[in-house]
């Protein structure tokens, strides 16, 4: 479904802009990936004994797949609130540059900071990618309404996926339950691999996968943090060395 041209009078209504944002949910293959991921999160929550309402609330409040998986799997494996919070906050640092990069696209000279709170909450990797793709085709003064429409649409799809995944994990034979749980690592690995832009990203992904099983043998409670910060720093070092050699 193509968006109307920028000068079209349709854009004068912010309700219409919201509706276009909502409809854009159906225009991206990433919606399918999100659906699969949140199906997996619903199943994961069921198998780690969280309630359905709890996982739905986590989707509304947290709205970041990796953070939700870290939260559920760390609490489920007996981590304390502080250990889980540290792992979640480190995984969420990546949201900071995303928000910093996306919000200027929506700002006008008259925009108030509080108008940007809801769009900022919706920003996660999918919305980040889609904003760069779609916002240039939306008039600047309608971009907040459009983004909120896109965000509410994606959240709704994911809430439905949570309910379906939770229900399937409770009722399906073990084989299919396992297949739904496998969706999470598969979808995350591949969508992260697709977002790798620089050598540092690829090294961080590969080394992060390889280092965790080694660090996990130490049973520190913050294994993910240790393997992540080490692998990420080494990856940054590789990037720095390579650039210095080029210069």
């Amino acid at each position: 479904m193509p968006l109307p041209p920028l000068e079209s009078p349709i854009w004068q209504s912010s309700v219409r802009a919201y509706a276009f944002g909502l409809r854009a949910v159906g225009s991206t293959v990433l919606t399918l990936v999100l659906f699969a991921t949140y199906l997996g999160i619903g199943a994961l929550a069921h198998d780690t004994h969280f309630s359905l309402g709890w996982v739905l609330t986590s989707t509304l409040l947290v709205w970041a797949g990796p953070a939700q998986i870290i939260l559920i799997s760390s609490l489920g494996s007996g981590a304390t609130v502080v250990q889980a919070a540290i792992a979640v906050t480190v995984s969420a640092i990546r949201l900071f540059p995303m928000v910093v990069a996306v919000l200027p696209m929506m700002r006008t000279p008259t925009t108030r900071l509080r108008q940007l709170v809801l769009p900022a909450h919706f920003i996660a990797v999918t919305l980040w990618v889609e904003c760069f793709r779609l916002l240039p085709h939306v008039p600047r003064e309608n971009r907040i309404a459009f983004t909120v429409g896109l965000g509410t649409g994606l959240v709704s799809v994911c809430l439905i996926a949570n309910i379906v995944g939770y229900g399937l994990a409770a009722n399906l034979p073990q084989l299919f339950g396992a297949a739904i749980l496998l969706l999470t690592p598969l979808a995350f690995l591949l969508s992260t691999a697709r977002n790798c832009r620089e050598l540092a990203d690829i090294v961080a992904l590969g080394l992060g996968l390889a280092l965790f099983p080694l660090v996990a043998t130490l049973h520190t409670g913050v294994d993910i943090l240790i393997s992540g910060v080490s692998a990420g720093t080494i990856a940054y070092g590789v990037h720095w060395l390579r650039r210095r050699r080029r210069a």
């Binding site: 396992a178 496998l182 690592p185 969508s191 940054y236």
Partner: protein, 114 residues
């Protein structure tokens, strides 16, 4: 209510360990945004660490699988993800093709194994 969400303690844990530590970065980005260059060295490091943490989470689910996934032998879990990755690369970075191939390998392996 208590059956649906669980007790208030569970909700408090969600806010303290999930919502606040996650949302703070979005609000910081909103508050401080504009002054940070997206290509800066600090952000390249931040992105590398965030990617590696996500990789750690993926590895954790595969190495220490939750619930029903624990019934799948390790070699089949790793094999399915490896096939998914190869299919993803072969299909010009199609996430869908990768996910479907990985899932099929796991399902076929499980059926063949028993």
């Amino acid at each position: 209510m208590s059956d649906f969400i669980g007790d208030w303690h569970a909700l408090l844990v969600l806010v303290l360990a999930g919502f606040l530590p996650n949302e703070i970065w979005r609000m910081l980005g909103l508050w401080l945004g504009g002054g940070v260059d997206e290509g800066s060295e600090l952000l390249i490091w931040v992105r590398a660490v965030a990617t590696a943490i996500l990789a750690g989470v993926i590895a954790q689910i595969l190495v220490l699988p939750p619930g029903a996934l624990a019934s799948v032998p390790g070699i089949l879990r790793y094999g399915a993800v490896a096939v998914g990755l190869v299919a993803f690369v072969a299909a010009k970075r199609s996430i869908l093709v990768g996910v479907v191939c990985g899932e099929l390998v796991m399902l076929a392996g499980q059926l063949w194994w028993r």
